[in-house]
Symmetry: none
Subunit: 198 residues, 4 copies
DNA sequence: GATGAATGAGCTTTCATTCAT
DNA sequence: AATGAATGAAAGCTCATTCAT
């Protein structure tokens, strides 16, 4: 038990370190020795925890998915209106992008970009399942309550994730006129208007 | 003249071939020898046309930007209502994604993801300038006509591009329930609802 | 300690192997894979010891400079007359050229010729500092004792090194009528006559 | 006749252009396309005049040798004393190094350094034969006149060429305290003292 | 478990040389 | 003679992965 927990701790250490490097420099520009050095272990030993660089990236993806899912779940569990929930989700997303940018950046710069890395092992949405599920729960409940229009889930999911991801990208490119959080109101309103029932 | 055109033809051949490979496998997983082989020339000769792999990617980006800009310009020049224009843009985007998927995929998988490749030579939005400008023209005119709500351009741009890009990504992941073009109505409506004036 | 010594041993192995190849074939005609193969290691591993081909050449230069400096220092520390010291230096130089020809050849064929290789890292005479210093000590002391004529150091240094280098070059070209060591007397006398005080 | 002369003119053009580039950048860092461009012709056509890069370098060497030989011959033909002739030769050498540095630099940076280039085609002193011969004539006559000590020719030749080459090298390294021509007196005296009869 | 030296395949890029025009 | 596009071998260097210790 203690042994397992120790191993888990180390795995966690690796995941967090690698996440930061991957998000900053991209998948291919980050080397295993760099990751190992960054967290103070040998590259050989790293292979005792993750059998390949690709698999490590996949585990990181699951980790982020779980993390974001937990945040969304809190919102789902609350008694907010759907409109308020949308704003809460946007907030969570942008706050994460500012306080833990590696999480969102990994999504945009590694997952979205290097599809070949996730082709074997993360088919479909396997590795982001938890996160997608929470968004789905949010959407289904809102539709059931009659607050959002009933439509294909992915029409809504694509809007949500594409929009938020796009804004973070533009922010990273430094072309936005305002700070990311200053867009929260506009964007929440836009999303709500797009999805609300007539 | 004939000479120039011959060289231009070859450049074009390279751009189109490289575009397909980059879009499918990503920037780093595509090698110069692969590109050369794919279009039936030697890798040495390829360097007579593009002096580096990065520069090749940048030229491709400009090419796509120009191509999409031309399509959007046609819509801008038409006498459609803003709502109809939105639908026309969505159509163009999805049709392109289906008939020439490499164009959109390059945007998503290479440009969006491998920022370091475009840092020197495509600062800001230089290389996608034509495309962004047309979207901006569409938006400004629609606001001027009072058909869309006046708001920060990037709030609208992020919605448009993020949403459409997100849908193409999901389509590529083969998780969608319908063909991409079957989403056109839903998505156009959502975008219009999000942006229309009150 | 043992570990350090092991790494040092390997560095030494590389330096000696590379020295031989560089001296025989020149800097550019010698490839890293050739060096690696010559000393029985992989070219990848060689980069664990020297981070570039240029840096390897610079380390070799320092190594030779230190080696020759040590020999000259012995002569400087002796109680020989200046005339005898000149002969001793010529002897050392020619003996080295015969027993370890790569040392002198590297000087002539790599250092002297491929200045661009040493531009960054061996500015001025940094990398041959030890050797030049010993020659300078010899000259200054001989002048102080009144045995050699007082003149610009480089007039004497150029004579010494140019002359000896030139002879080794001619020997390498196999145009000399006698073995190198058979020239020792003539050349020592010539140098002494050129530099002695009136 | 006209045809031959035209061809000769072009050969000469190539030799002079290539000489400048080789002397400045070295043999390996100079490419055939660079040479072709420098003299305003195509690289393909250059091969109509010289069948390989190595052979071009060898022809250049012969050209320099002939040029310097002509200068030395003038001195040999004069009625100067041996001591004055030595000074005249030193002057010629240093003046050439200053007014046409490419000539001397080619000797030092290409011929002396890249032996492998001259191994096949310039064995022994074949390609510098004219030049060496003139120096030999000077030396033999001076010995015959009893002005210089009788010794192995190469003892004297090595002194001459090594010394002068060494000084030009040091000058190029910018370590000398004076301009090259300011060393003429010292060096001529040193050489004369070294070689004069007792 | 932990280390880091070692491997070797593979990358981008260069360039002497050829050859169709 | 002249062009310059084309070839293709080879270079320096990187890095995921392995393995002896």
């Amino acid at each position: 038990m203690i042994d397992t927990s120790k191993k888990e701790q180390k795995r966690s250490l690796i995941i967090n370190g690698a996440l930061k490097l991957f998000a900053t420099k991209g998948f291919y520009a980050t080397t295993i020795p760099q990751i190992a050095k960054f967290i103070g272990m040998s590259s050989g030993n790293l292979y005792n925890y993750f059998s390949s660089k690709e698999l490590l990236a996949q585990e990181i993806l699951k980790y982020i998915s779980a993390h974001l899912a937990k945040e969304i779940r809190k919102i789902n569990d609350s008694s907010l209106s759907s409109q308020e929930k949308i704003k809460a989700i946007v907030k969570i997303y942008f706050n994460t992008a500012q306080s833990q940018p590696e999480m969102i950046d990994f999504f945009l710069r590694v997952y979205l970009s290097n599809r070949e890395v996730f082709r074997k092992g993360c088919e479909g949405m396997i590795c982001v399942n938890e996160f997608v599920t929470e968004i789905m729960i949010f959407f289904d409940e809102a539709v059931a309550k009659g607050e959002l229009k009933n439509q294909d889930f992915f029409s809504a999911f694509g809007l949500f994730m594409g929009y938020l991801g796009g804004m973070v990208f533009l922010n990273g490119e430094e072309v936005l006129n305002k700070r990311l959080d200053e867009y929260i109101d506009d964007i929440s309103t836009n999303i709500y208007n797009a999805l609300k029932s007539d």
